[in-house]
């Protein structure tokens, strides 16, 4: 199958990549660009580990053809911190022990970011509901939910 040059805007930076139509966004990120923060887990849309933000909305990169997000703004976990200055959600995950093995963390943090962009002051229930598509097999979710609520507070207070 013939490759074609496609342009992507990933973490604010333009990339031109020769892609086949069958390449998923996940493969583009991990295999072509080396952005391995985005994780491959179930490959079936069940777990949320491959979540990235496309135009600010969480989507599953394992079920998205790269060719469909040409010219779109894509945010991966690598694009969240400003240099060594971590995003408040990242800080809160560390402070609250919301990371154990870390495999779900990039997807979890990006989904949480989308939540807090939409709703800066969510209830605990709203956090649970919004994160329902991101599975974690370590933490039991308690610390993740605490971290997201703490991050929401920190962002509201401009910290």
């Amino acid at each position: 199958m013939q490759k074609q040059i496609a342009r992507f805007i990933i973490n604010g930076r333009p990339y031109e990549v020769a892609i086949e139509p069958r390449m998923t966004l996940l493969e583009l990120l991990r295999d072509e660009l080396g952005l391995t923060g985005t994780k491959y887990s179930c490959g079936a849309g069940e777990c949320g580990a491959c979540t990235v933000l496309v135009e600010g909305k969480p989507v599953l990169s394992c079920l998205t053809l790269a060719i469909r997000v040409r010219e779109k703004n894509i945010l991966t976990i690598e694009g969240l911190a400003k240099g060594t200055d971590l995003h408040p959600i990242q800080k809160a995950f560390i402070e609250h022990g919301a990371i154990q093995c870390g495999f779900c963390t990039p997807g979890m943090i990006l989904t949480a970011k989308a939540l807090l962009d939409e709703n800066p002051n969510p209830t605990k229930e709203e956090v649970k509901e919004y994160l329902a598509g991101n599975l974690c097999r370590c933490t039991g979710y308690v610390k993740i939910i605490e971290a997201v609520l703490a991050a929401a507070k920190a962002i509201r207070e401009g910290k």
Partner: protein
């Protein structure tokens, strides 16, 4: 256990700019081509090698397919309108709340950002959470093919699990919900194992009640037959009656009899049938309580 492969088999990708181009392409390539809207189901099944299309026809470059708007007769939802947009739409929350409530139960925000309502209908899963409220709201679908278009009631759209009346050259261009269904009393209930799992049973009900008499009733049931279906016997029991508990119970039992459930890893057929009764009874009660 089905193996989920990482790589997709090669295919040719086509991005038509008009519906006419899309139907032309579909008519030429028939079953070798698949339509891509949100991709949640299509790419998933391609990964599983359940389908291996030679051609993918993406609708995303056809302008004007992503909308929710009202005209003199219908509320219209375009083929590319995603589930999250519908769930959050003020007019749908206000006037067709059972649709928003049903989509709300589809738990993964990622799936709702990607998946479209029309795509959900087209895959023809009996466990759709989108179809039952649309059945209960009396929705129709506008199908466009090479030789023209037709409008069909949603209950005539389905043939069997995964099968619809859609011809190889046709696409579903939009969902039409009649304005007469706006603010109808309704309820949607669903029984699931976990937040992100598909329904064991789901039920959508709408009722028109005047002077304490039920003038119209639509009872739609999902996950307990090869397709979502309207429980017409149950509806017949309700219409023309005061909705006293014994009438509701009789209708709920009739709906359970109309179901053709299977046993699978989620539930036994017997349990599903019993739960149709319970959910229909509760949904009628919930719809009655709503004061529109």
């Amino acid at each position: 256990m089905t193996v989920v492969t990482r790589n997709l088999k090669p295919f040719e990708y086509f991005e038509p700019k008009t519906i006419a181009e899309a139907t032309q392409f579909l008519s030429t390539h028939g079953a070798k081509a698949k339509v891509l809207a949100g991709g949640v189901d299509l790419i998933f099944r391609m990964r599983r090698r359940q389908i291996q299309p030679e051609y993918i026809v993406s609708l995303q470059s056809i302008p004007g397919l992503d909308y929710i708007r009202k005209d003199g007769e219908n509320l219209k939802i375009g083929a590319l309108t995603n589930l999250r947009t519908i769930e959050l739409s003020p007019i749908i929350r206000e006037d067709y709340s059972i649709l928003a409530e049903a989509i709300h139960t589809i738990a993964s925000i990622q799936v709702k950002n990607m998946g479209t309502a029309v795509g959900n209908l087209c895959i023809a899963t009996p466990a759709s959470d989108v179809a039952p409220p649309l059945f209960a709201l009396g929705a129709k679908l506008r199908l466009i093919g090479l030789s023209g278009e037709r409008i069909v009631p949603i209950e005539e759209f389905y043939l069997n699990v995964g099968q619809t009346i859609l011809q190889p050259d046709e696409i579903v261009a939009e969902i039409l919900i009649p304005n007469s269904s706006a603010k109808v009393r309704g309820a949607f209930l669903k029984l699931v194992r976990t937040a992100t799992d598909i329904a064991k049973v789901n039920v959508a009900v709408t009722l028109t009640i005047e002077d304490n008499i039920c003038r119209d009733a639509k009872v739609a049931v999902g996950s307990v037959a090869p397709t979502v279906f309207r429980a017409k016997k149950a509806e017949g029991i309700l219409i023309g009656e005061k909705l006293k508990p014994e009438v509701v119970e009789e209708a709920a039992e009739a709906a359970a009899e109309e179901a053709k459930p299977i046993t699978d890893l989620r539930s036994t057929a017997e349990y599903r049938r019993e739960m149709v009764k319970v959910l229909v009874r509760r949904a009628i009660g919930k719809a009655q309580e709503r004061g529109n």
